[in-house]
Amino acid sequence: MIERSHAVVTDPDKCIGCVSCSQVCPTRAIRVREELARVDDELCIDCGACIDACRWDAMKAKTSSPADLKRFKHTVAVPSLTLYAQFDKGVQPGQVLRALRHVGFDSTCDISWMCEMLTGATDAYLSECDGPWPKISVTCPAVVRLIQIRYPDLIPHLVPLETPRELAAKLRRRRLAAELGLDPSEIGIFFITPCTAIVDSIAAPVGLEASNLDGAFSIAELYGPLLKAIKRDPGADSAESISAKGLRWAMAGGEISAMRNSNAMTVRSLRDVVWVFDRIESGTFAGVDFIEAYICSGGCVGGTLTIAGRFVAQRNIRQLARAIGDSGKVKEEKVRSMLREHFFDIESEIHARPVRPLARDLRRAIALKRERDALRQRLPGKDCGACGAPNCDTLAEDVVRGEAAIEDCVFVRLESLEKESTNRHGGDHE
């Protein structure tokens, strides 16, 4: 069994054991036991919903710390496109890149041009590949994890092309090592991330042996220092490579907006993703060529670790893209030749990580399912979460798995106390 990691940690000093996080978790991965929210590695897809929901600041993303930068001779910041969209109107990507150097990185690496390359590569891939249809984008790592855990049948639908952030980091490391005469391991490349899912995709990559990135800082934690740096030095670094077509990848709908293939759909938010994936599994949507799917509503601009919020960020991206203009930065023949050289290909197979069934043996699993259904009948169905499981269904399942007790339910306990007291009462009178 492969050990799963995840990018969300609970701070035991801050967690008060309320159930806000467990109630919003889309994969029901959180249990609150002994006043502490615990995340199940096997079920967590790193969507970050719990971080958003926690009012006590107790759920945190496992991001890098400034000390991590000291391990390298040269450090590079690879900003998510969403970072460009966080600041007030008028702040240009070049200014953001310069500010990143002011806050402690030696150099920066824009990925919008790589996004444009991937747009071309995806088009070429779609025109050359065989089914199964529709193909699904791998851009959102939480979507990829959801597929590994809940929809293993959809793995062959994933487009086997690496993400822009990984490819850009790979190229940059190679180039810098040659230019600076450094060993590749002496260069530290850090992503500035809008979400927890990418943090985990660096620590526990899918589709490649080791990430080309060395860590990630959240947009939220760098926002303050960057804003200060922009005010102090409003100058800009070169932003020649910035591609408008690429920039739109920050928003849901952006990935397909510049594609030639128009038989594509955008699906955003976990609820809709689940709705669509259920249907792809049943063979619907086979007439669609490509689906870009995001766990966050709005796409990456809606990530948990952002500041501006997706509505403002969407406007900012649109304005930036319009100002740059849609003339591409990438030549199509170049993309096709790189595709033939397998530059974009993922390195290793994407494996299924199906959730464990109730039991390996069919008869035993059926017996446990019956037991679970019976327990479920005893529970009130209020889904209050007070037992520590997110809802009554999950508590019933936890009980048959031996991970909880039916008495964890306050209503069940109350009922048995009442029964006891009635019995005792009745006894007194006799």
Partner: protein, 148 residues
């Protein structure tokens, strides 16, 4: 020989209920996943169940879908009350469909329904009486599942 039924559950599908279209197939899938059946088996059944469910929604008044888990197979019976199929042979041919333009626009009725169910099952039976209804019985073996 009558196979031992390890698990049985029934679902109701209502005609014209596009709003809940696909939900029974999804519920069945979730049960099969809990029981830890092979993903290839679940996939084939899900495709068949979805097609059967949508057929009921598009053409019948109401149906009962019965799921039976046997030691070496999963059996599904979908019995509907409805208009029935006058020419089963015709309906079983690839590409034939009486779906209206509106249904097609919503992605249903590509004329793959019944042949698709047969393709995704190891045993398939259909019987129909015009004006009364249609019954589908199909089975997917779980012991040595052929690649779906």
């Amino acid at each position: 020989m009558v196979a031992e039924v390890l698990y049985r559950e029934q679902f109701t599908i209502r005609g014209n209920d596009f709003e809940h279209g696909g939900e029974v197939a999804t519920q069945v899938k979730s049960i099969l996943k809990q029981l830890g059946l092979d993903p290839a088996v679940i996939r084939r059944l899900s495709i068949a169940n979805f097609e059967a469910e949508m057929n009921v929604i598009m053409y019948a008044d109401e149906a009962r879908l019965e799921l039976e888990v046997l030691p070496d197979a999963v059996r599904v019976v979908v019995a509907d009350r409805g208009q029935g199929i006058p020419d089963i042979e015709w309906a079983m041919q690839e590409g034939h469909s009486t779906a209206t333009a509106e249904m097609r626009a919503r992605g249903f009725g590509a004329g793959l329904g019944l042949p698709n169910i047969r393709r995704n099952s190891d045993e398939f039976e259909i019987s129909s009486t015009v004006g009364v209804g249609t019954t589908l019985r199909y089975l997917v073996r779980t012991d040595a599942a052929p690649a779906g």
